[in-house]
Amino acid sequence: MKQAVRDQLGRIVAVALLATIAWAWFWRPPFSWTFGVFVLIGTVGAGIADGRYALRRIAGVIPVLVGVSFVVFALMASLPGDPAINILGPAATADQIAIVRTELGLDEPFFNRYGNWLGGVLTGDLGTSIVLREDVADGISRSMTPTLQIMAYSVVIALGFAIPLGIWAGYRQGTKTDGTINNVMLGFLATPNFVLAVMLVLFLSIGGLSVAGNEIGFRVLPAARYVPLGEDVVLHFKHMLLPSLALAMGQAAVFMRLLRSDMIATLRLPFIDLARSKGLPTRRILWRHALRPSSFTLLTVVGLTVGLLIGGALIVEFIFTIPGVGAYIFLGVTQRDFIAVQGGVLVISTLYIVVLTMSDFLYLALDPRLRGREVGARA
């Protein structure tokens, strides 16, 4: 009984701690509230499933993040060319350059500069953009929001297609249904997302092809522009649908094929025989018994995909003129704005690591066999 109370207490402490970290760190620039919500749900969920494990994993992530920050800083510092000259232009005098170098702190030794920068980073200060003359943390935070939204919507759409189709194709393995689903999804996999994006815009928003004065297509969705969620919810989703769909279909194909093969393996396991011998309807066996144990590989790949999408689906964002984080960093790179670029790369790498940690937490939710390993050993 005492043990149980202590476990409960530990769980509450862990959840409170995790919630604080998630809120304090990920709710504000350079991250954005959309990401904050995501991290909050993930960490609190993990804390409830196995608080000790969640805390241990987070403790393990911290040195990785510090390492990443160092690599990013060192890479940017070792780029050829003097940032001061980039700012002032080729006509600058030696005095002007010296002043700017002092302003940027470029005269100090490498480790001092890194220390100063890291100190700023920890308080959410990524410096001021050279080109935009704007706080980098604010800029990234602003451009991160649409990127994260497209990422979330496209993954939801992809799973919405992939889960039912993967289950059905796996159950109907080797039949015509299976073959049809596989071939159609293979088609989506083989279509680059920017081609799909252009096709979607062509046929759903600008009226499609014109043949003898007749339009083969529709004008049902807006083509391009970003409307923030807070401004107009309906318009927001109308604008986000096409870019999300363009990104989603390729992912859906990958997710579907993974789930299908794991379903096939799961459906051969003895507990499926037992579920059948209980007289359960097929639908219940597939969704309640087979899906969850078949979704571990799927979860891994969804985690990786989400992580990659944070870097921005640059081309799709360009096609739909969405001011995402990819566009922000691209601008920084072309304008040699090293402060914006190093801030952006750091945030994206951080988010990638956080997302992968979150997907590890999700394993706990999916597979109870992984929970409380240490608790059991200690007791």
Binding site: L269, P270, F271, D273, L274, A275, R276, S277, K278, G279, L280, P281, R284, R288, H289, R292, P293, L366, D367, P368, R369
Partner: protein, 388 residues
């Protein structure tokens, strides 16, 4: 065939609960058809206990799945008749089968860990059948699951109900599997090697639990095993299977006192006995069970049989039916492939076997002598040269 002649009287004690006739299950494999169950027939009364014994690959599991109609849909065909309480199982559609599985027929499987869903709480798995078949609410199913856990002897059911299978021991898991099978109070329980994966000490507990629940619920029980020792004291009748066929069937006491089939004798001699010296060598059955895709003509056991003669290789013996000694009262009536009971209605107590040189007869003794003389079998009665 007895299934045609048995009068259709509901609740009649004379009427079998399950009547299997000419059951034949064929797997269509890449190397040709594999007849895993070949013309099996028997019947089982309400509340009776049948043991099915045979080596792995003898077709006993396939037989039980054919009866339940739990085989995969593709590349398997099952013919013959299976009548459960007057219902022709073979003609049922998928939906009707779903209603049979659980409340009428249920199964306990061999591997208790593999048979339980690793990511579903035990209470949910036990109560699920009730939710589906009896439309119980989640709360009612949970309380029913709690009662079932108590019935099958799970300690601390209030805690175990929210645990996952990996948190339990092997014996506990098998108790859970039994609770799942019992949930909808089936009238027939088929236990397919229920104790094979368990420690010897736990085996007896699980078998006792099955017997107690069977008696309490007046369930019929089919106990499938490779171990004659397990069915010895726990069944009314025993079927011995080899290469997909019934090779001997008798009331349990008769089988042990008057076994006729050399294969049964060989199985019996391979059971360790308490009276044996602790280092005594167990008799083994030489050779391998036959390749099911390439069966020998004649008696399928002949190549491994110490009594086998030329006749055994040339011709397959039919299942012969003789009256069993009256002292063994059987609760089961039976019907073999070629047997006929003439529609008498009174329960037969018969003993069937499939052998030209039945164990214990003078013919068998002479056959063994001839085999020893020819060097096919050594002095200890072990086949040393598998000829043809």
């Amino acid at each position: 065939m007895s299934d045609a002649s048995v009068p259709d009287l509901p609740g009649s004690d004379g009427r079998p609960l399950l009547d299997v006739a000419e059951l034949r299950t064929t797997f269509h494999t890449a190397v040709g058809p594999l007849v895993a169950v070949d013309g099996v027939g028997w019947s089982l009364r309400r509340g009776a206990r049948l043991g099915v014994v045979g080596e792995s690959g003898s077709g006993k599991s396939v037989m039980s799945r054919s009866i339940m109609r739990l085989l995969p849909k593709s590349r398997v065909t099952s013919t013959g008749s299976v009548s459960f309480d007057g219902i022709d199982m073979m003609s049922l559609g998928r939906r009707e089968l779903l209603e049979m599985w659980g409340p009428q027929l249920a199964m306990v499987f061999q591997d208790p860990l593999g048979s339980l869903n690793p990511v579903m709480k035990i209470g949910k798995q036990v109560g699920e059948g009730l939710r589906v078949h009896r439309d119980l609410s989640a709360r009612a199913a949970r309380s029913a699951a709690f009662d079932l856990l108590e019935e099958v002897g799970i300690p601390e059911p209030h805690r175990r109900i929210d645990e996952y299978p990996h948190q339990l021991s092997g014996g506990m898991r098998q108790r859970i599997v039994i609770a799942i099978a019992l949930a909808c109070s089936p009238r027939l329980l088929i236990a397919d090697e229920p104790t094979t994966a368990l420690d010897v000490t736990v085996q007896a507990q699980i078998l006792d639990l099955l017997e107690a629940q069977r008696a309490e619920r007046n369930m019929s029980l089919v106990l499938i095993t490779h171990d004659l020792g397990i069915v010895a004291g726990r069944t009314d009748e025993i079927i011995v299977m080899y290469a997909g066929r019934i090779v001997e069937r008798a009331p349990t006491a008769t089988l042990f006192s008057d076994m006729r089939m050399p294969y049964t004798e060989a199985l019996f001699r391979s059971i360790p006995k308490v009276s044996d010296d602790s280092h005594a060598r167990l008799e083994i059955i030489g050779g391998q069970p036959p390749q099911m895709t390439d069966l020998p003509s004649g008696c399928k056991f002949a190549p491994r049989c110490k009594y086998a003669q030329d006749l055994c290789y040339a011709e397959e013996p039919a299942l012969i039916e003789v009256p069993a000694p009256t002292r063994s009262r059987s609760a089961i009536t039976g019907d073999g492939t070629g047997g006929s009971d003439g529609g008498g209605g009174e329960p037969d107590v018969t003993h069937s076997y499939r052998c030209f040189y039945p164990v214990g007869t003078d013919d068998a003794a002479e056959a063994l002598e001839r085999n020893i003389a020819s060097g096919r079998v050594n002095e200890a009665g072990v086949v040393i040269r598998a000829d043809d």
